[in-house]
Amino acid sequence: MSEWIVEVRNLNKYFGRHHVLKDINLRVRFGEVVSIIGASGSGKSTLLRCLNGLEPIQSGEIFIDGVCITRSGVNLSKVRQSIGMIFQSFNLFPHMTALENITLAPRRVKKIPQAEAERIALELLRKVGLEEKAYSYPAQLSGGQKQRVAIARSLAMNPKVMMFDEPTSALDPETVKDVLDVMKELAQEGMTMIVVTHEMGFAREVSHRIVHLDDGRIIEEGSPEEVLYRPKHPRTKEFLSKVINI
């Protein structure tokens, strides 16, 4: 087993003729928390989507826990079981209760018996502070609650890495903190995390490394102190001057 849970080599991604990701090289260690920052349209979501095989790539290689997922014939469903993905828009299943949302994949994919899956789900709901919402439907939950259920749903598959695509940017300010607190707790427990975020405070406090994506290219990468306080690249300085309020 290699020391890298995620390894991206020379990744290039096009949408038609639009070159969206340019020669990306990125490695993430087990237990590491990496934040990806960058302007709108710089390719952050696309990068995450490539990492779990939701977007095909045109060249390069992606390894997840040593398995090359960009080779043809790879069992993507199997690989995705070990990658949790949190979307900006939650994407909870509206026809299922919180509990059913969380137990669906463990039961159908991992064939865990219902009682056992529900026990795990309730434990996870307690962890994200929503035990009393087990039997609520998504429509009955606030944005922050939905996102925490979505996190519990991903955790139920016992992933090796969790990816977050702007998990709080669709939320009301008052519920952002609950979600960030859950994410901090996860980070402290040693979960490997890749987080696309505009929350610079969170990025500084929680991440081991910050990556700046600019127009499809990684132009700066380093510890939060290096990237946020002593950026080398003029584009990073420019970007930070626009967003930073730390």
């Binding site: 939701l54 994407n91 994949a105 159908r108």
Partner: protein, 218 residues
């Protein structure tokens, strides 16, 4: 000229018989159409492009030709290939194949109306495309499919009057026969219309009822 209620009253038992034939042929056609349509609709969104193309061709051809011609093709045309069907069976097959195309489009539309994020969330959890379809997409699509499906059933019930042309004694045909005996056109056609209306009204009530039972807030 006055409305001769007694003529209509005397015709009621025959019209009722005709209506039951209409109901029988329609429900069998609906069943066949649902089977074909669900498969065709799923093929329209299946990852395999061959299946997508095949079901696309089927749907386009059926929707681009009149049902009456399709009925004639099955009943008068197939014997040329040595396939002789009795009128009832020919009617059911023609109407079922016809309805399958419309149901297929409804099913496709319902599936595609479910936000792409739902499929992606399911896939991200490690489900296969089929599992995601079965557990996540179809249950949601079903709720949205019900109202247009109800409309299709109603349209099919009304269109079943076309099989009167291949000598099936359904409601319309029964009306024609009674009129050739009684010459009470206005009374009998009114009765026929009333029977059609009662049946379509019943379908729309049933659909609305099941919609309510199934609805969850999104």
């Amino acid at each position: 000229m006055s409305f001769d209620f007694s003529a209509l009253y005397r015709a009621l038992p025959s019209l009722l018989m005709g209506a039951t034939v209409t109901l029988r042929i329609t429900s069998l056609s609906i069943a066949l159409g649902l089977c074909i349509g669900i498969v065709a609709g799923l093929c329209r969104v299946w990852p395999s492009s061959v299946l997508r193309a095949l079901s696309g061709v089927y749907i386009e051809i059926i929707r681009g030709t009149p049902l009456l011609v399709q009925i004639f093709l099955v009943y008068f045309g197939l014997p040329a290939l040595g396939i002789n069907l009795d009128p009832f069976l020919a009617g059911v097959i023609a109407m079922g194949i016809n309805s399958g195309a419309y149901v297929g489009e409804i099913v496709r539309g319902g599936i595609e109306s479910i936000a792409r994020g739902q499929m992606e969330a399911a896939l991200s959890l490690g489900m296969t495309w089929r599992q995601a379809m079965y557990y996540v997409i179809l249950p949601q699509a079903f709720v949205r499919i019900l109202p247009p499906l109800g409309n299709e059933f109603i349209a099919l019930l009304k269109d079943s009057s076309l099989v009167s042309t291949i000598a099936i004694a359904e409601l319309t045909r029964t009306g024609q026969i009674i009129i050739t005996r009684t010459f009470k056109s206005f009374e009998i056609w009114s009765g026929v219309a009333l029977f059609y209306f009662l049946m379509t009204y019943a379908i729309s009530r049933i659909v609305r009822f099941s919609e309510k039972r199934l609805w969850y807030s999104e």
